[in-house]
């Protein structure tokens, strides 16, 4: 029940008079407020700053320090005020929580100081309102990461880790090169060899020197053996690395399916296929094509570069925007190519031999490249060509900033949405756990109440005091209200007399009595198995 709504409980109870003429059975007696005091102002002195509030405001949350009798420990007899030697700034937020029912987290406050204050006053951080909860969780996470980093660096300096298996240490070494010097060495060595391999592929094709016969040879053919050795060395290193990763992976199946491992395989396959294939005329063409795949070795760098990984991920998540860009470009290209083709059809020796041939012109013009290998000669062609280049600027320049801003927006949004969803579930679960505490209190008092009824309660104050000992006054009044509603609507059938071995409340054998009915706030919930609520067994 919200704090403010507790103030309306008297109204709800008064309105219950509307049920009275309708009820068939007598109503239960109301809980009396023993020594009912007039509401008084209490002074809270927090490090010299005085706060004043009504006593009932604080008693809205009886499970916190200020709402319970725990604050009596801080009562100063001489000055008749409650003195707390704590931060007055944070106390302002905490007192507002009692007043409004919403706990806010001020941005200027340090997260750990705030947490400490909340713990001191017995307030769960999960109660922070939605307006401030995200900020609070973000700061908390940053703080936790910082603590973890500190701990990690401490642990690294210490040296010994809890015993991991050899396989697990290897996997850790592969994933985080900073864990040990061996891993770091491995990281740099593989990086070096990737670079060597890529440079080799590039230099292979550079013409170096002539051979008698005035033929320019590329270096790859001139120093064929050297390049072959380099290639072999690189591929061996890559193969060894791949096999080691495969061995160390915690889930081999998942590792094989991952993108990085596919890149690894594609990088080394051409070499092995080349070994296997002989120098046939038919397949040499295919063999040459395979060599192209060696360039994929450059993607192995993405293990070494966080930026590449982020780029790959954001491209994947911006697929729809890129698709839209592609689609609109294709539309424009087709339109202008058609127009140019028909415009240039009349001119002689025109390069615009077909619409697909005009595609090249359109693309080159729209991206403002303008190679000049195809130019329109007719006036109509020139007019449409200029329209094409002007619109090209627009068509390309418009979606690109959108995509760029989408990158950052989608990237951050994805992270935040997942975070918020996970947080919300965990939060609600925790609040539910804390709340069942209060509904359990109701069941408890209901049990006591029923026992009293079985004994023909005549308003003796002892039982009542016993009943209200564990619950606050507001709770017991609320329970009384619900009890009156029960009485108004209970069927006039009497409960059948108890049969031995069966619970009178359910008519079920004692071992089959269910344990929980969490939806029911009323005492109709099922009791603890083995103990009948009626107290007859």
């Amino acid at each position: 029940m919200a704090a403010g709504v507790a103030a309306w409980l008297p109204f709800a109870r008064a309105a219950a008079i509307g049920w009275m003429p309708v009820a068939n059975c007598p109503m239960p007696l109301a809980p009396t407020e023993k020594n009912k005091r007039q509401d008084e102002l209490i002074i809270l002195n927090v490090s010299g700053r005085r706060f004043q509030t009504w006593r009932t405001t604080l008693e809205r949350y009886p499970d916190t320090l200020l709402g319970s009798t725990e604050k009596e420990f801080f009562f100063n007899e001489d000055t008749k005020e409650y003195f707390f030697d704590r931060d007055p700034e944070v106390f302002r937020c905490i007192l507002n929580f009692y007043r409004t029912g919403k706990l806010h987290y001020p941005r200027y406050e340090c997260i750990s100081a705030y947490d400490e204050e909340l713990a001191f006053y017995g307030i769960l951080p999960e109660i922070i309102g939605d307006c401030c909860y995200e900020e609070y969780k973000d700061r908390k996470r940053e703080n936790a990461e910082r603590l973890m980093d500190d701990n990690d660096s401490e642990n690294n300096q210490e040296g010994s880790m809890p015993s991991l298996s050899f396989r697990q240490t290897m996997w850790r070494a592969f994933e985080n090169p900073h864990t040990s010097t061996l891993a770091l060495v491995f990281y740099y060595v593989t990086g070096f060899f990737i670079a060597v391999s890529v440079i080799t592929n590039v230099v292979e094709t550079v013409p170096c020197g002539t051979v008698p016969g005035n033929k320019e040879l590329p270096c790859g053919e001139r120093y064929a053996v050297a390049f072959f050795c380099l290639d072999t060395a690189c591929v061996m290193i890559f193969t060894v690395e791949y096999l080691l990763r495969l061995f160390a992976a915690p889930s081999r199946y998942r590792f094989i399916r991952s993108v990085m491992s596919i890149i690894d395989v594609v990088a080394i396959m051409p070499y092995y296929i080349g070994l296997v294939m002989t120098n046939n005329e038919d397949v040499s063409g295919a063999f040459v094509t395979l060599r192209v795949f060696r360039v994929f070795r450059i993607f192995k760098f993405s293990r070494h570069s966080q930026g590449l990984r982020i780029l790959g991920y954001t491209l994947k998540s911006c697929a729809s925007e890129l698709g839209f860009l592609l689609f609109s470009l294709t539309m424009a290209i087709i339109i202008f190519a058609t127009v140019m083709f028909y415009a240039e059809k009349g001119s002689s020796a025109s390069k615009f031999t077909s619409i697909p041939a005009s595609f090249w012109y359109t693309i080159v013009t729209m991206t403002t490249l303008g190679y000049g290998d195809m130019v329109p000669k007719t006036i109509a062609g020139k007019i449409f060509g200029s329209i094409c280049s002007l619109s090209g600027v627009l068509v390309i320049a418009l979606p690109v900033p959108v995509i760029v801003s989408n990158f950052s927006r989608i990237y951050h949004q994805n992270q935040r949405a997942d975070k918020r969803r996970a947080q919300k579930k965990a939060r609600l679960a925790r609040i539910r756990v804390a709340k069942t505490g209060s509904s359990n209190a109701y069941l408890h008092s209901k049990r006591n109440g029923l026992l009293n009824e079985a004994l023909e309660l005549t308003g003796s104050t002892e039982e009542e005091q016993h009943m209200t000992k564990g619950t606050s006054l507001i709770e017991s009044q609320h329970h009384h209200l619900l009890h009156c509603l029960e009485k108004t609507t209970v069927s006039t059938n009497t409960i059948p007399p108890p049969r031995p071995g069966l619970c009178a409340w359910h008519g079920l054998p004692m071992d089959k009595v269910p344990t929980e009915c969490s939806e029911v706030a009323l005492g109709q919930a099922h009791p603890v198995p083995g103990v009948c609520q009626r107290g007859w067994f």
Binding site: M1, A2, G4, V5, A7, W8, L9, P10, F11, A12, R13, A14, A15, A16, I17, G18, W19, M20, P21, V22, A23, N24, C25, P26, M27, L29, A30, T32, E33, K36, Q38, D39, H478, L481, L482, C484, L485, E486, T488, T489, S491, T492, N493, W505, H506, C517, E519, V520, A521, L522, Q524
Partner: protein
């Protein structure tokens, strides 16, 4: 929608004290709670239903809250101001038994024509049973409200003409010990 900016200041404290049977201190406590929940000074039906449903989480209390709202909104202008609230509570908590029974009759008489018909009573009964919700044991039967209405009419309708007038109602209630006793139940709520 002007609901957001509707503001209402209640009558002066002395005036309210004279009109109702509450003391100044009690009025202060009442107003503080009222103003906390409704800063604009009036309660409209939606807010009223929301507040009332917080006390009965296991069932559906919107219908009964609707009837209750109409009982409090004596001038039928669609909103309950603090004066209406105080007047209603004054009757319920500090009024004579006659006044309380009058108020209850007014609640049951949905169309305010001076007669409670079986249909009106059935509506009220269903609303009350709705508040109980579905998780009860023994499970309330479908026609439990109807049976309850029959019992009620048997008790209240003296001349068996199918409607209950205010006099029949007050007379029958005064004869019933249980009802008389339960009317005094909430004397010390404030």
């Amino acid at each position: 929608m002007e609901m957001a900016t509707v503001r209402h200041r209640p009558e002066a404290l002395e005036l309210l004290e004279a009109q109702s049977k509450f003391t100044k201190k009690e009025l202060q406590i009442l107003y503080r709670g009222f103003k906390n929940e409704c800063p604009s000074g009036v309660v409209n039906e939606e807010t009223f239903k929301e507040i009332y449903s917080q006390f009965f989480p296991q069932g559906d209390s919107t219908t009964y809250a609707h009837f209750l709202f109409n009982a409090f909104d004596t001038d039928h202008n669609g909103s309950v101001s603090f004066e209406d609230f105080v007047m209603g509570l004054s009757i319920l908590l500090r009024g004579t038994v006659q006044e309380k029974l009058n108020w209850a009759f007014n609640l049951y008489d949905i169309n305010k024509d001076g007669y409670i018909t079986k249909e009106e009573m059935l509506d009220i009964m269903k609303a009350i049973y709705d508040m109980m919700g579905k998780c009860t044991y023994p499970v309330l039967k479908e026609d439990a409200p109807r049976q309850h209405v029959e019992t009620f009419f048997q008790k209240m309708d003296k001349n068996k003409d199918g409607v209950v007038t205010i006099d029949e109602f007050i007379e029958s209630c005064q004869k019933d010990e249980n009802i008389m006793r339960s009317m005094q139940l909430f004397e010390n709520v404030i």
